[in-house]
């Protein structure tokens, strides 16, 4: 069994754990994003119904939902713990910096700020879960749309708050940045590189990043403007 211990503590093992968990989270993000898209339905009643239906579908999974949530916790946990471990090691490996800081490669800014975008996302994630998962009913100001408070009411309420919406938009830009580098990185770290396919993977990864990051941000902005213009 010592080989498992060796692997998860090796530099490549740590990165591959991040890659695998990151890769799984990509799937989660996509599913989540598709659900979010119901918020773009123009008619309010239909929108609320569709959105709540998505939420209810998840809730109806009951036990399975807990399993899925536990899975997500593990994915995020492994991803984050390894990110912090490698970050600390990387800082120690380059204890002294250079007088002149410059970059020579072709990679753009997102690749150099992964730890910052990631940290911001972690903080945002806490807020996100607090307000949307556990926040229902806690905050008295929420006005039910249709009798009892639904998740749609919670979302509408929070997205009408300008500061909250602003944090969300920034978080989604961070997510886009994170994915811009992250998707291609998953493949490289797992060794899935090929002269024919890597350019395609890189391109698709950036499209995906733009879709998830940009798409979610647009949803938030749309919700905010809709409330603001009421």
């Amino acid at each position: 069994m010592s080989w498992i211990f060796k692997y998860v503590n090796s530099s490549i093992g740590k990165k591959q754990l991040m890659a695998v968990t990151g890769g799984c989270l990509l799937g989660f993000l996509l599913v989540h994003f598709v659900g979010n898209c119901t918020l773009l339905i123009p008619d309010e009643a239909a929108r609320a119904e569709a959105f709540n239906k998505v939420a209810d579908t998840y809730a109806s999974l009951k036990f399975l939902l807990y399993v899925a949530e536990a899975g997500l916790v593990v994915l995020f946990g492994v991803h984050i713990v390894n990110a912090l471990r490698t970050w600390r090691e990387n800082r120690a490996a380059r204890a002294a910096g250079y007088e002149v800081q410059t970059r020579v490669g072709d990679k753009s800014l997102p690749s150099f700020v992964m730890i910052y975008t990631g940290t911001f996302l972690l903080a945002w994630l806490v807020l996100h879960i607090l307000t949307f998962k556990f926040g229902k009913g806690v905050f008295a100001d929420i006005i039910p749309h249709d009798g009892q408070i639904t998740l749609y009411d919670v979302v509408s309420f929070w997205f009408s708050q300008s500061w909250y919406a602003a944090i969300y938009v920034i978080a989604m830009l961070c997510l886009g940045f994170h994915l811009w580098h992250g998707v291609g990185s998953v493949f490289q770290t797992l060794g899935l590189r090929h002269p024919k396919y890597t350019p395609i993977i890189e391109f698709c990864g950036k499209c995906y990043a733009a879709l998830i990051g940009g798409g979610n941000a647009i949803i938030v902005i749309t919700c905010f403007l809709r409330e603001a213009c009421k």
Binding site: K6, S11, G13, E99, D106
Partner: protein
């Protein structure tokens, strides 16, 4: 193109030894021919320092034609200075303008401690090769060289990776001081050839373990190493090593 003479200001890292703190010193070097190499310019600096009764500046160099891997200066933040696919000794003063300020620093990595000024200790690289960067073959026991045909594509890819000169620019360029490009170049070189495939799993496990032990950082796929590499070794090697490492972990019995 006619060469001309230029004068430059150098901001050079001076450090008496590993355990003493270092600092930058500023020197002027006048009337250097743009046809001189960067190291020849440093030779001039040293001759002048000596005339002024000052200690010469220490920097590693040997072949001065870009193959031994000894020279190792970070010039204006870039390992081996401006220009792709060259070592410091192949950098010429025509890459600079009259009046330029040039900052010269050593490779910065915890695994490469400074010995003096811009000379660093790269023994860690040797220890990584010792861990497994070879084929287990004794002199005299080889079969005929043409006994195993090797496809041209494999031979060429092995050669691409084998071109590594072990200078450490990849480590110097990486913000994590990761040695992945160096290690993966050797792993790829040998794993690409039938002669090296016999022990490829054992090799990659041993070399990565040693690399980690030396205190190099982790790869975060920014590919600065590839851009700084004087032999333009590709990060394809890193992907290959990631793959080899994973499969070795899964398959190797112990």
């Amino acid at each position: 193109m006619a060469e001309k003479n230029i004068s430059v200001t150098l901001k050079v890292w001076r450090q008496a030894s590993a355990d003493k703190p270092g600092k930058f010193e500023t020197y002027k070097v006048k009337d250097v021919s743009t046809g001189s190499s960067f190291l020849e310019m440093l030779d001039i600096l040293n001759e002048e320092l000596q005339k002024e009764g000052k200690e010469p500046f220490a920097f590693d160099n040997d072949c001065r034609e870009g193959i031994c891997g000894m020279c190792s200066l970070v010039i204006n933040g870039v390992p081996h200075g401006p220009g792709r696919g060259i070592t410091t000794c192949q950098l010429h003063m025509r890459s600079f303008k009259d009046g330029d300020v040039i900052v010269v620093e050593p490779w910065r990595a915890s695994a490469f401690p400074v010995i003096r000024d811009c000379v660093v200790n790269r023994d860690a690289f040797d220890r990584i090769i010792q861990a497994g960067g070879f084929t287990n073959i004794n002199a005299g026991s080889a079969q005929d060289a043409n006994a195993i045909p090797i496809g041209k594509a494999d031979a060429d890819a092995a050669m691409d990776a084998a071109a590594c000169i072990g200078c450490g620019a990849c480590v110097a360029a990486c913000k994590n001081a990761s040695a992945m490009l160096f290690v993966s170049a050797k792993v790829t070189h040998l794993a690409r050839l039938p002669q090296g495939q016999v022990e490829k799993r054992k090799r990659v496990l041993a070399m990565v373990a040693q690399m980690d032990k030396e205190g190099f950082g982790n790869c975060t796929n920014q590919y600065e190493c590839q851009a700084a590499c004087p032999k333009e070794i590709s990060v394809d090697c890193i992907a290959k090593m990631n793959r080899e490492y994973l499969s070795a972990t899964v398959v190797e019995p112990a």
